[in-house]
Subunit: 457 residues, 2 copies
């Protein structure tokens, strides 16, 4: 075949180590204890996660070994294919070479199992019986449910109430894997009951659901918390995406000029792009990295770099990140996985170090790009992924205008089979761009926590 | 990695020809013209399909070339992986080696694009602008919609009304690809209007929807019909599944003792198993082939081998096949893709020639197998595919009892992401086994058409 459209690797080419950008990135600040202002230690984290995972969270080592049982499960869908989007290129009539790394082939349909499998493995090794977590659109909750089934761990998911009702199939997927899924805010936790007392009709948020999961993990020694994004160890586990892409570009005898990922908490973006950023930091080729975020929740383009909580109730350590404020409530839009007030500290530090750019995109533009992609490349993308597609198409059209033949890589983080009602809204003309409240943002930024001065020893 | 769990092939290893069992199979009878009783000719078929496809329908050549543009599109998800189900083997504690060939990685989530792409290509080559078809659960309709998008053909799908309302996401997938999907019976055709006049609340059937699509194709020179199963050329196109599996078993240095596929119209079963049957017929290794069909629509185990129509209104040629009668209405059950009164002539002839066995399975047993598979292997199977899984598990347990280490291969024809409400019914205990009406079956068998004696020349 003359025009190859995919680049595969063998099972044995699954990376043997994860790549940790923290080893190479300037300016990354430690997590801080909200009570003392002191840097967080492994011991601070072990009430809610195994020591191995806590060590990864704080590690500055460049390469961290992937356990063999984790690689064995990765092998079901990894190495994930790198596609050349030849039909989309023809439709755009662009001289650009467009590539996409597809993570929707995992059993849960997104990139999330890359870290869910690893976290379930380490928790099982540590003798934990149960994991608690939050989920928005449900990609993370269903991935952790899958991992729980494979490692015989009970999984308890607090799902943002509005999504719980809007996306029943995601809940059913979790239950099919044997997990328990509860609408959040729930009456099962202090955090949930407090919010329901104030507002019985509260539609929930990722911050609230996170508070509920953390509370359960803190109060039960047999239960740990598992996070689906934002944290350093989560981005670490996702680095297999970019590492494989680097090897696949060698097969293609090419190298990207631009790498684009959608950004909610940052794990998909970091997983794809950090290995490329790492190459650059260690003297490799220059590459533009673009974060595509939703205009209705513009953490990187409108947020402030500050220490903030990862959840609404303030149960997490303080993280230095671009944030809209942990009390910020984004408007309702369809890319539920991007509705988060903060951005991973590693992504935030990379932005500060001018190693990446950020672009905010309206959802109507994203769905139009998603439809064009589905009708040329065949895969219906997740609403989150359409943000990256939209930016990739804009870059390809820029190349056409400038007559430049650049190589564009974007991350196709998942398929949209659970999100077709959003496509229906687009096709029937009912989809609108949602604006966040400027007053709400101002208030949330004014409510950022103050960092206590560390006590002298 | 010591325990390899998947066997891949390179893009260049996609078969270059389809395998046609008709070349090797004894006892296959021709299609007959229902008016004259004479064997169908290419000219009889060209009002509703391109001559190339009509020639394939009647061909007795063993190998038929796959056009390069079709292979190019196949390359997006083909060669499809062959998995070794090591985690399921451990859960069953069986000495059997269980393999499955996974077709759910196609953009539409099932094996159906293998023929949809080919049919769209040939129709486009022939200058056709529009395709009409029927669909039950929606796997075929969404696959043809995908193919239409890629070859710039309008697609019009008549979807069985009960499924149209029960499976809105499948309809939305078709619309996302740009197709038009209508509930059948509809008021758009004579066949539909006639049925609605008799019974305004008719829930529809595959036979009725097929009559509607055929009527549209017959009345409009720019519109052709595209069939998703049963017909010889459809099974021909699906042969890539089994051909790849043969090559992958060489990689695994193994050969199946048993090959199992679910059977509705027969295209998934034929696609997987015919290349193995062909090897056997040409002196290769002996292999058991098992068709897993629904107990509520038991075409192979309870049907009669006879000439019958493929649709309710009697618009198709007469096909010699195992049939419950073209007026048989199966009860409602979740594997919509298996709710068809007949079985492909090629599969029917193979059963008569003792080249395959058939087993009928109740749906509660199938869903239990599907849940066990999802929780060990990670992939949530389509309800249709759970029939094959159920039989594969029974075979693996037989091996355990007999202390035999056989190799078992089954076809995982698609994922179940669009069918999670059926899993919910199973998990909540609401799922029941549905029985067909014996009186209805008797009446349908009594209403089989009589074959006119061919007029002397």
């Amino acid at each position: 075949m003359t025009d190859r459209i995919k680049y595969l690797l063998d099972e044995k080419d699954i990376p043997t180590t994860w790549y940790n950008l923290a080893a190479d990135l300037p300016g990354l600040q430690p997590l801080l204890h909200p009570g003392t202002g002191a840097p967080i230690t492994v011991d601070d984290l072990t009430p809610i996660m195994p020591a191995t995972v806590a060590e990864q969270e704080l590690s500055r080592e460049r390469e961290i070994e992937i356990p063999e049982p984790v690689r064995q499960i990765y092998a079901q869908w990894r190495p994930a294919p790198l596609f050349r989007a030849r039909r989309l290129e023809r439709a755009l009539d662009t001289p650009a070479r467009i590539y996409y790394k597809y993570e929707g082939g995992s059993p849960a349909g997104s990139h999330k199992p890359n870290t869910a499998i690893a976290q379930a493995f380490y928790n099982r090794e540590a003798g934990i019986r149960k994991l608690a977590t939050e989920t928005g659109a449900g990609q993370w909750g269903s991935s952790l449910s899958l991992a729980g089934a494979l490692f015989n761990l009970q999984v308890q998911v607090y799902m943002v109430k509005v999504s719980f009702h809007q996306k029943p199939y995601r809940r059913l997927l979790m239950e099919t894997y044997g997990a328990r899924c509860v609408a959040s805010p729930s009456t099962e936790t202090e955090a949930g009951r407090k919010i329901l007392a104030d507002d019985p009709d509260c539609p929930g948020s990722l911050g609230i659901a996170t508070s509920e999961a953390l509370e359960v993990a803190m109060n039960d020694p047999e239960t740990n918390y598992a996070g689906g994004s934002v944290l350093n160890h989560v981005l670490l586990h996702q680095s297999v995406i970019g590492q494989e892409a680097l090897a696949q570009f060698k097969l293609a005898d090419d190298y990207p000029d631009v790498v684009i990922g959608c950004a909610g908490g940052g794990s998909n973006l970091g997983g794809l792009t950090f290995p490329f950023i790492g190459e650059r930091l260690r003297g490799g080729p220059s590459v533009r990295v673009v974060a595509a975020e939703p205009a209705a929740c513009p953490t990187l383009t409108r947020g402030k770099l500050a220490y903030d909580f990862g959840d609404t109730a303030g149960l997490t350590p303080l993280l230095q990140m671009h944030t809209l404020g942990h009390t910020f409530v984004p408007p309702s839009f369809h890319a539920g996985g991007l509705r988060y007030h903060g951005m991973a500290p590693l992504v935030s530090a990379a932005l500060e170090a001018d190693l990446l750019e950020a672009v905010a995109v309206e959802q109507t533009k994203c769905f139009a790009a998603g439809i064009q992609f589905a009708r040329t490349e065949g895969i219906v993308p997740a609403p989150e992924s359409t943000h990256a597609i939209s930016v990739a198409i804009a870059e390809a059209l820029r190349c056409k205008e400038e007559g430049r033949s650049e190589a564009i890589l974007f991350g196709l983080s998942g398929h949209g089979h659970f999100d077709l009602s959003a496509y229906e809204a687009h096709l029937t003309g009912a989809l609108r761009d949602e604006a966040y409240s400027q007053a709400g943002l101002d208030a949330a930024l004014a409510a950022l926590p103050t960092v206590p001065a560390p006590a002298d020893a």
